[in-house]
Symmetry: C2
Subunit: 589 residues, 2 copies
């Protein structure tokens, strides 16, 4: 919802004031809106766009070289008045006439039409063009009734780039008509925005459902369906748009298209990228060549949750205009003044294979494992069983670990530990399958844990497993004292890495007494299982001791000065793991 405002009635005016204050390099305020801050060459057609407030970057954010010459800015979701449009257009006019452009809504059609009449009466040659790209708002036989949504941008840009090239008014209008005729959009929504000062959203969609065929002012959609996965959403958007090609195209294969995946406000960038990944692949499969795609927020509706896909089917001329540079507050494109090696302007193609380049986050192919003794390979089986037990206990306690972590941290300890321990077990199993010794199994598990878990716990657990692996090696039989020595080194590594000491209320409070108890028990001659059992009991008691009121150290964790009432999440998970490993040792005894 929209929360930050002063007087709701003044919202649109105050937003425009703040916008111009922040962007005076690009725009200057005039009655009714903004025009470019710099002069327009005499005789150039002025492209003046406009519409209601609440759709930023539309419309004021699209004023600047290569884009609009001015924008008339109405109240929230309301067309600017004819007088406002007239005022902006008169200020933007540079002697070449005016093209008024806007989304196809009844109010805008009326006011821009009235403004055009007034401008013409004053001797300023004026044409109008309403963008009507939303295919859900009327059938193909009534395409003149369609609303304008994110297709505003490519149509505005085509006409403005043509004006920038010095074309006369009639030709700029023809470019707008051609771009408009080849631009289609379709969207889905999950919730409407709440206007400044209102106490409820313009519309709601039941949980786990979506509205199909969004409007950017809270207009109801044309249907409702279950919430899709990102890939299903991409398929719906692409397939719907591919059903209605411009009449002169026999099919999508071999065609080029400008592609805009537009977020309406609170469907955010990472979600848009996940959807775009599939959009690009599907268009690639259909043989469509994607030109300069845009994935982001271009036409919004405050914090509405929705996403739309726009395709502009390009010919050579439209492609040139779509690729042309632009420099507006919210849309910048084109070469810097000192072109570099990445400025070659090569077309970006999408051929399915190419667009969904798999990102090799798993790292390079697993290298062969070093030679190992039979004894170490047998020990590796026990290590693998222990790592299996670790992954299981972490998985079954992940929610609890998250809740404990949320008391003083960001609540993701359980998620990270689950990712790390699962990946560690998988990497260990692969190494074991390849005949690795205990040391290599542990070091592979260490890398996988750190890679997949990320965060602090990932680094610390990576260093624990690595220290253990180094201590065990791939040749010797890992007896109890060697294991205890490895745990002692792991304890030292964690302290060095994390900078924490006993008493700081971290996992070090558990790891140090555990290591000490294990070393003492093995020094007494206890076998590994018995020694580990005793040390694990020590660990559990120590974890409970982290639950009191004292501050805890650690960089960038400033909010821990409170009574936790529960043990530290890292300490608690370590204690759980020591107990689980004991179970695995007993089984493999």
């Amino acid at each position: 919802m929209t929360r930050l405002f002063n007087d709701p009635a003044a919202f649109a005016d105050e937003a425009l004031e703040g916008f111009t204050a922040a962007h005076r390099r690009w725009v200057r305020p005039v009655t009714g809106g903004v025009v470019r801050a710099g002069a327009t060459p005499a005789g150039q057609v002025a492209v003046v766009i406009g519409g209601g407030s609440g759709h930023y970057p539309a419309f004021s954010g699209l004023v600047g070289r290569g884009l609009a010459h001015g924008a008339a800015v109405g109240n929230v979701f309301a067309s600017p008045s004819a007088r406002q449009i007239h005022s902006v257009a008169a200020a933007a006019h540079a002697g070449g006439g005016v093209l008024l452009m806007y989304g196809n809504y009844a109010g805008d059609v009326l006011h821009f039409g009235q403004a055009a009449e007034r401008l013409a009466a004053e001797g300023i040659e004026t044409r109008t063009f309403a963008v009507a790209d939303d295919i859900s708002s009327a059938g193909p036989d009534e395409s003149a009734k369609r609303r304008g949504i994110a297709g505003d941008l490519p149509v505005f840009k085509a006409a403005a780039a043509a004006a920038e090239q010095g074309l006369p008014l009639e030709e700029v209008l023809r470019v707008a008509e051609r771009a408009g005729g080849r631009t289609r959009s379709f969207g889905i929504a999950f919730s409407g925005c709440t206007l400044p000062g209102a106490d409820h959203p313009l519309f709601t969609v039941p949980e786990a459902r979506m509205a199909v065929g969004l409007g950017i002012h809270g207009e109801p959609g044309i249907g409702e369906e279950p919430l899709p996965t990102a890939d299903e959403a991409a398929r719906l958007l692409v397939e719907t748009l591919l059903k209605e090609l411009p009449q002169d195209l026999t099919g999508p294969a071999g065609q080029r298209a400008a592609v805009i995946l537009n977020g309406l406000g609170s469907v955010k960038y990472e979600e848009l990228f996940v959807v775009y990944r599939k959009v690009a692949a599907l268009l690639g499969e259909a043989g469509v060549e994607i030109v300069d795609p845009e994935v982001g927020e271009l036409v919004t509706s405050f914090d509405m949750a929705g996403v739309s896909l726009t395709l502009t089917w390009l010919d050579d001329r439209l492609e040139e205009l779509w690729r042309a540079p632009a420099d507006a507050p919210a849309y910048r494109k084109g070469a810097l003044d000192t072109p570099g090696p990445d400025q070659d302007g090569e077309p970006v193609t999408a051929d399915g294979q190419d667009t969904a380049v798999p990102v090799d986050n798993a790292g390079p192919a697993t290298p062969a494992v070093p030679a190992a003794s039979d004894a170490s390979r047998r020990a590796a089986a026990t290590v693998l069983a222990a790592l299996d037990a670790v992954a299981r206990v972490v998985d079954s306690h992940a929610d609890e670990l998250g809740r404990i972590d949320a008391v003083a941290g960001d609540g993701d300890h359980g998620i990270g530990m689950r990712r790390g321990s699962t990946a560690a077990h998988r990497a260990a199993a692969e190494a074991h399958r390849l005949g690795a010794g205990a040391g290599t199994v542990l070091s592979r598990a260490a890398d996988a844990w750190a890679d997949k878990a990320g965060g602090t716990s990932g680094a610390l657990w990576g260093s624990i497993l690595r220290a253990l692996g180094t201590a065990l090696g791939d040749q010797d039989t890992p007896d109890a004292r060697r294991v205890a020595g490895g745990v002692t080194e792991a304890s030292a590594a964690v302290r060095a890495l994390g900078g924490a000491e006993v008493g700081d209320k971290t996992m070090v409070d558990v790891l140090v007494p555990f290591a000490d108890a294990l070393a003492a028990a093995t020094a007494e001659g206890l076998p590994l299982t018995g020694a580990w059992d005793r040390a694990a009991t020590t660990a559990t008691a120590a974890a409970a001791g982290t639950a009191d009121l004292l501050p805890r150290k650690g960089r960038a964790r400033p909010h821990a000065e409170k009574s936790l009432g529960t043990p530290d999440a890292g300490a608690h998970s370590l204690a759980l793991i020591t107990r689980a490993v004991h179970g695995a040792l007993l089984d493999h005894h």
Copy 2:
């Protein structure tokens, strides 16, 4: 909440795939993240940034010329692993060494530190720098413990611009340290984000409250306060940051600062502009010169509702680096290849007076009113009373009108009518005070209604009042027949403007029979009040008749083909108004 995903565990990887597919002009994927698509000049220091996913544009969106050379991308809200960072840095390295930069979180500190060690061990000179700008996360005496939030951007950019200039590694590091030491941020939040696959947000704030001192991963703030107005929020942000200047500054007056007002995800652009309007004014009052401000989403947390303010206190060198061009997927700055008149690079100053330039949406100063007869001036008093009655009845029915409109439209009919009728009454009162006749009072009211209401209803009501004003004029006594003639002309104007006819289920269905009834009654010789009474009764019946199932016309209103059950909002408001005007006529009889 985050709704569009496939497997939540694959979210970060799939987002990165989609991101690279959309931005191959700028970046190419490598294990662990992305690097610039183009080559870096040999010997240039490589600035490699990184952190968890979920903060776009941080971090992958900030890779490109003038900004980072590579970004290591971790899982959702988790540091990338040392191996991932190492992989990205090795790919980005161009022989000049590597500066690793990241926000100051324990996990990032660990993993980037480990990666630096590995790079150094391979002979790649490497330094690290953690941004710690969030002043709410630790006191000034513990500033090394602070978290990194939106201050990442100016600090990354300073170092990267220095690298682009060819400075050696130690000097690039010194730039990072100087920029980091002079960058402070502070934020407020209203709700946390909901991670992909999670069923609840990371944190919640009670309604009408805000958390002070936000963290970008859902870390709890340092306090809770009542929800502020936009101006109050601006004051809190500015005053908090001005309390902690760099030690070498004796006060803010005369200092220059880069200013970033950052939205966390669902505090949207218009809200940010309303807040920025006051931020700029307050900084101006304090004597701070604002340099190249940024108002938008630079470091996010999915759809978290929050906003933060960042100030980087500039010296000449830091200003040069902040102003330097950049061309990254989500941050572009600098001249196009063909500089135009708006590319002069003049500093943007903020001096209170200057930043909050009042946008003159009210239009030019009211011109003097034309001469009017005494009779017409007396009639103007009745017109004014009628407009007062109109504004009152609309105000008291605005919510009802909105609900009716929401059945088939966007629900803003009540808001628009209230804005229009209020402005019309105010303009009429001013004209009346200046001695205007009935015609001028009506035409001034007409302009104000159209300007302030916007939308379709604004245009139509503007044309109704204008037609009436023209019919009444400023000289003659407006008798019943003249009024009826004006209403008939208003009816014709509305049909011409809106393109609707009787039966289309719009206000025309009411206006036409009203005008006809009024004309018939006055032809019978009824006085105005009696004639108007009869016509208003006709209007009320006609409005009810718009509530049935037939389709209604009108451009870009495709969703009206449904049983409304309630009258059309525009028809209903017209009927209400005719009745209210009758009351005013009776009073002034």
